[in-house]
Amino acid sequence: MQKYSGFGLLKHSMSHHENWQRVWRNPAPKKHYDVVIVGGGGHGLATAYYMAKEHGLTNIAVVEKGYLGGGNTARNTTIVRSNYLWDEAAHLYEHSLKLWEGLAQDLNYNLMFSQRGVLNLGHSLQDMRDIERRVNANRLNGIDSQVLNNAQVQAKVPILDCSKNARYPVMGASWQARGGTARHDAVAWGFARAADALGVDLLQQTEVTGIRRKDGAVCGVETNRGFISADKVACVASGNSSTLAKMVGIDLPLESHPLQAMVSEPIKPILDTVVMSNHVHGYLSQSDKGDLVIGAGIDSYLGYGQRGSFDVVEHTIAAIIEMFPIFSRVRLNRAWGGVVDTCPDACPIISKTHIKGLYFNCGWGTGGFKATPGSGQVFAHTVAKDEPHPLAKAFNIDRFTSGKLIDEHGAAGVAH
């Protein structure tokens, strides 16, 4: 793999950037792979990378029906944090956050992971009790997290309306300093480039149309480019999980909903943390380009159309003005939607299935981006070893039968 550096940039500028290597090959599908990963988003590419790097499996392919990183990886609001309430979720997301912290160096690709801190605002006494509970749990789980009062919040974000005049005055917040944002596309490209360098075949424009089984075990995938034989098939394709499961007659406890996000026109830097509010239902950060990146809650109906309803945009912007009255004259440039697979307990499924060789990693709901490296690593382990990674164990599909749900609705009440 060609090494990227500032020096390299200077060197290549001498030759007018004509000699950069390809970031990844564009291979023809082989007849057989040990593992076929279905879904070339951040999670799928991360799965491939860790599978090759840590489990020595290099005869693997990622099949993607569109282009790499073109699903929710390309559509989210890029927030990374790990301050989840329940132990199982907190450990998984914290594992992921730790990976983020060295990921640019590991992949030799600057993901612009910016630990600018994440505020979760509290606007009621119960909000504050919930924040205290979550922060205390985080702290004892080794996750940096603290409770801020109104004055401390105001000091962190001077432009936030922390006055008593607000409809729902800010009473305080939780603060995770290590949280922040990352450049979403770069995450997919960084993992793709590194996976390709380890020999993983990245097959774009390759759509899975069927999952073939033999003697009760998976034996490959049918695609628009023909049958590809595989010992194991690992599905990690948000917005398509139910469709893939249906190919083998499995129902999943999922619902796919539109999730909208939007950006303002770029303005000069004015906000250097991530501010989230479940109560008024909006959250935002400012990108390195100057856009205010704003997230909404999910649209309540099922939808695969990568768009939602306009009233969600109106309510979200009203929420932003409620928090930041000075943004009233700033202008909204673009709104779009992704498709998120939501689970009844707002936690993912990282699981074997009753079909040998078939694995699912899905149901990340609104919060999958932040988990990209961790999800990939634990899923790679689960698939490669055919046994759940210790951190993935609690996220098996059987929990919906046993009742051992991990209810993170408190942490995921609003998208992120």
Binding site: G8, H16, R167
Partner: protein, 1010 residues
């Protein structure tokens, strides 16, 4: 200052009304009717901004929504300033103040430009991804510097003084765009009797007709426009919306329009709203959005003076501004010749026309020849000289396939370069609803694709550029849409009215499909050829991205930032796709389609929020006694949408002192609580009782009229989700109370089960929360107070605990419930809400001798916690069963029906003995109040991560007990009473507490039962 580029006559400006304005603190003059852009060009202002990455000087390129460069900060104060409006779409007003958004110290002399020149070579697309990685800890510092360059304009620093509103419409035919196609469609639709709305982003309706040279029926186009608008304006079924941008097309024919009502008047105080959002549900939608001209991509095509050919025409014809002295035009088509003809006819010099085609014998070409303009066929402008203004161009011969230049170039002196690579239909709106555009080779452009919307397209949007054809298209489109929309209520009208005026159409030769002009050097070494100006995306950058493997157009866009500017790729996307297609040896559609998202052009946040701001963000609910609470100086708590008194501080009291006073008064004498916000649902019908049996976990079969019972509801997953007291009014009627926040959800829950699963049960639900005002008097003296204002017998014998009676209280019909959430003798008086304040005041007066003390939610929380009564949402979180709450007594064991939630309790996870269970905690230090939310461990001194076994849900100091106490959930807690647990706190200390019963006060429940 003289407007050096203003010609003496012509244009649609009012020369009698001079407007003074400032740009970058320099004063200029323009006329009414100018845009900021036309006024700046009239004054000979060349450099209006600096580019984002390389800080290159930039000038005005377009006259419309495509403008990438003239992005300003407009406004004179920190409250009224607006970031990023395009000068081309900003109407000039008196004393307008504006600034460039980039450039330091100023746009004419920009130090960053020097940095851009030197460093630019090392900043190809994606350079961020390749550097700033080492050491890891430094990224935040690098980023700080990178962020300094971010953004265009500045956010205001003060709240917006303006207001915004919204209007909803339903119409038969919604027409987007009031050019020739839209106007003729409006005419025919309106004539057919349809209710029509027609919106256009410009200040005047007319679109391309506003600056055409063509005559309609031998008269200037304005005559036809005036006649048309007059007819439409007189039709009461037609709404004309100028200055109204259709920014979004949403599912089921839903159209969003942003009308700018006062922006053109300046920052004056005005009574109306600044902007209005129209939301239109249309039966039929006609998109008549026309087409945008594409520039060509050539060397140094961003030097100020390089413009779109059509923009040049627009400035001359509409504003009387010739934006230069000497013009060079490069075109792939006949239509752009108009710019040269206009320029020549305005009396200025056309250096030459460079036509990339081998030949053309179109009428306009002939006209140009007749005027003696030098035309060079088969050539192209490959490079522009100059930095802050075009000085000259290099012209070279193209090979037959136009992918190479031949021989050597010739230099021509000029100060303006107009270019035209053809036209791109404005397909944006049609793709908002998920429809994918399709490429048409014959017009070299994307047009709207298949859609499920009731959508029609006409005119330039579907590649019809000939005026008569466009008018005809509009007429027939309007008629068809009206017919489909008005099935049943349309007029019998005469189609003959829809006559296309006589127009002498000019013959045109075929255009050439050319986007990217080659250079002698390979693109990577040629002078910079800009594709997307705002983000400094060049042809070389795109080719580099392609070489690196970014081949899908979506990858190209994301890697190079093509199309991510505030113009959203209007100017550059198709050219970017063409460059990609050429470098990959594909066709344009093979590189992918380009999907546009709302907003068409940016929309003010304030307009999107409308009036839903400040206190109207979510209207608050107040009880009938709110004014009394205010007068008493109560502090309020937000509970759901309600404002509830939190506590009633007396002068000089701390909160803790207030609470102690309120608690002791209630325990020792009498307190009063406004409980009106609790949800109340009137349930009637002969099967009401059976219904309650299925919804609640406990049995209801035996509850007699006049009696009340506490009940718990679970979801089907077995988890508690609401509780409250339900009273039997008579055998067919119950009054259910719910938590304050849960009320709407519970009502919906009841309706859901009744309507979808048990419709055979005869039962009806009606919310009566707001109908009743509820006041709870609680404490040993409460009966004495009540007796003073009611004649009813409220003795324990006549009116025992957990009963209710109808009675008259303070002269008002009331229901009195003997239920208690404090553990004291309590009466809950319900009166019709209009009598709430009256009754409350009567109770207060009656209680005076007992020092009746109003208390708020906080005291209520303390008193109920002393009794171990739970609060849903505080002591529960959606993962707690009744068994976990040690409330087996509320679970019906013998009920026939398998009520909601029951089945889930037998799942494996519900059988665990180490589930978290509700218990009491007594801190070892009786004065230390455990923080609510503190986590609990069994063993102290653990390393992190610790094994957490529960948390504190409620915690207070009890003035009555004289010590602090808490409720908590603890793993297996019910069997651990008497054992110690530890709470490692945020300050690093660990405190110890003992698990105990959750009932701290009057465990036998004697006090409420007297």
């Amino acid at each position: 200052m003289k407007q050096i580029n203003r010609v003496d006559n012509g244009g649609r400006i009012n020369r009698h009304k001079t407007l003074v304005f400032t740009f970058n603190n320099k004063t200029y003059q323009g006329f009414e009717g100018d845009t900021l852009a036309s006024a700046l060009l009239a004054n000979g202002v060349d450099v209006v901004g600096r580019s984002f990455k390389y800080s290159r000087p930039r000038g005005i390129v377009t006259a419309d929504a495509q403008e990438p460069n003239a992005i300003f900060q407009v406004g004179s104060s920190q409250a009224t300033t607006i970031p990023n409006p395009r000068a081309t779409q900003t109407e000039l007003y008196k004393n307008l103040e504006c600034h460039s958004t980039n450039g330091w110290p100023n746009v004419d002399f920009d130090l960053m430009g020097t940095v851009g020149k030197i460093g630019g070579a090392a900043m190809p697309p994606g350079f961020y991804y390749k550097t700033f990685m080492f050491p890891q800890s430094m990224w935040m510092s690098y980023e700080k510097i990178i962020r300094k360059g971010a953004g265009l304009g500045c956010s205001p620093q003060l709240p917006d003084p303006d207001s915004y509103d919204k209007l909803h419409h339903h119409c038969d035919v919604m027409i987007v765009g009031a050019g020739p196609a839209g106007l003729s469609a409006a005419l025919s639709a309106a004539r057919a009797g349809a209710r029509v709305i027609i919106a256009d982003e410009q200040n005047e309706l007319g679109g391309s007709l506003l600056c055409t040279r063509q005559l309609l029926d031998g008269q200037a186009a304005q005559v036809w426009i005036d006649k048309t608008i007059s007819e439409l304006a007189q039709n009461k079924n037609v709404i004309l919306l100028p200055r109204s941008t259709v920014f979004g097309y949403f599912d089921h024919n839903y159209i969003g329009i942003n009308e700018r009502r006062s922006d053109h008047l300046g920052e004056v105080d005005h009574n109306g709203t600044r902007q209005r959002l129209h939301k239109v549900r249309a039966k039929q939608v006609i998109l008549a959005t026309g087409a945008h001209e594409r520039p060509l991509v050539y060397g140094n095509n961003d030097v100020p003076g390089c413009m779109l050919a059509s923009a040049v025409s627009t400035y001359i014809n509409r504003y009387g501004v010739v934006p230069g002295k000497t013009l060079a035009l490069m075109t792939t088509n006949d239509y752009a010749y108009k710019a040269a003809l206009d320029w020549h006819d305005a009396g200025r010099k056309v250096a030459l026309i460079v036509d990339t085609r081998a030949s053309s014998d179109g009428d306009m070409v002939k006209e140009a020849m007749q005027r003696g303009i030098n035309i060079v066929f088969g050539h192209a402008i490959i490079d522009v000289k100059g930095s802050k203004r075009v000085k000259s161009v290099e012209v070279a011969k193209l090979n037959d396939s136009a992918d190479k230049v031949l021989g050597s170039s010739v230099n021509y002196v000029c100060d303006t370069v107009a270019s035209s690579g053809g036209w791109s239909p404005v397909i944006h709106l049609s793709s908002h609803t998920g429809s994918r555009p399709v490429w048409r080779d014959d017009i070299q452009g994307f047009v709207p694709g298949e859609t499920v919307q009731a959508q029609h397209v006409c005119g330039g949007l579907q590649g019809v550029y000939n005026l008569s054809q466009t008018l005809k298209d509009g007429f027939s489109c309007g008629a068809v849409a009206a017919q489909e929309a008005c099935k049943g209520h349309g007029n019998d009208h005469d189609d003959d009215l829809n006559v296309v005026p006589q127009i002498d159409e000019l013959s045109e030769s075929a255009s050439m499909a050319l986007f990217h002009i080659p250079h002698f050097k390979p693109t990577s070494r040629a002078p910079k050829q800009f594709v997307d100006y705002q983000n400094d995306v060049t042809a070389a950058g795109i080719e580099m991205a392609n070489r690196e493997g970014f081949e899908s157009i979506e990858h190209v866009k994301r890697y190079t930032a093509l199309g991510f500017g505030t113009d959203q790729g209007k100017l550059g996307n198709i050219n970017g796709m063409a460059v990609t297609a050429k470098s990959l040896g594909k066709t344009i559609p093979e590189t992918g389609t380009t999907i546009f998202r709302p907003m068409y052009t940016p929309v003010t946040f304030g307009a999107l929020a409308g009036s839903d701001v400040k206190q109207l963000f979510d209207p608050a609910r107040f009880t009938a006694m709110h004014s009394w609470h205010l007068a008493q100086g109560a502090e309020f708590e937000d509970v759901g949408q309600w404002k509830r008194p939190w506590y009633f501080p007396q002068p000089g009291e701390t909160m803790q002192q207030s609470l102690q006073r309120e608690c002791l008064a209630t325990r020792n004498s009498v307190g009063i609580l406004d409980a009106s916000t609790l949800g109340k649902i009137d349930i009637q019908g002969k099967d009401a009782r059976e219904f309650l049996n299925r919804i609640y976990t406990n049995p209801w079969s035996q509850l007699a009229p006049g009696r009340c019972r506490y009940g718990v509801m679970c979801k089907e997953d077995g988890m508690v989700f609401d509780d409250g007291v339900t009273s039997c009014i008579d055998d067919n009627r119950f009054l259910m109370t719910t938590t304050t926040g849960g009320a709407p959800g519970v009502l919906a829950w009841l309706e859901l089960w009744h309507q979808t699963e048990w419709p055979e049960l005869e039962v009806y639900f009606s919310t009566v929360t707001d109908h009743w005002a509820t006041m709870t008097i609680s404490g040993p003296n409460s009966r004495k107070v009540l007796e003073k204002i009611t004649s009813a017998d409220v003795s324990n014998e006549a009116f025992p605990y957990m009963g209710w009676i109808p009675a008259e209280v303070a002269g008002v019909k009331a229901r009195i419930f003997r239920i208690s959430f404090t553990g004291e003798l309590s009466f809950e008086i319900n009166v019709q809400a209009n009598y709430g304040l009256h009754t409350w005041e009567a109770v207060i007066a009656a209680g005076e001798e007992f020092n009746i003390t109003p208390y708020g939610t906080e005291t209520m929380h303390i008193l109920r916690a002393e009794k171990g009564f739970i609060i849903i949402g505080q002591d529960t979180d959606g993962s707690v069963t009744p068994q976990d709450l040690d409330m087996n007594w509320v679970v019906g064991k013998k009920k026939e029906f398998s009520y909601l939630g029951k089945r889930s309790w037998t799942r494996i996870d519900n059988q665990r003995s180490d589930r978290k269970q509700l218990v009491g905690l007594k801190p070892k230090d009786p004065n230390f109040v455990l923080p609510e939310g503190a986590q609990i461990v069994f063993e102290k001194g653990q390393a992190i991560p610790m094994t957490m076994v529960g948390h504190v849900t409620s915690s207070y100091f009890s003035a009555c007990l004289g010590y602090s106490f808490a409720l908590a959930v603890v793993k297996g807690g019910i069997d651990r009473k008497g054992q110690s647990v530890f709470l490692p706190l945020a300050d690093g200390t660990t405190v110890e507490a003992e698990i105990c019963s959750s009932v701290f006060y009057d465990p036998k429940g004697e006090r409420q039962n007297v």
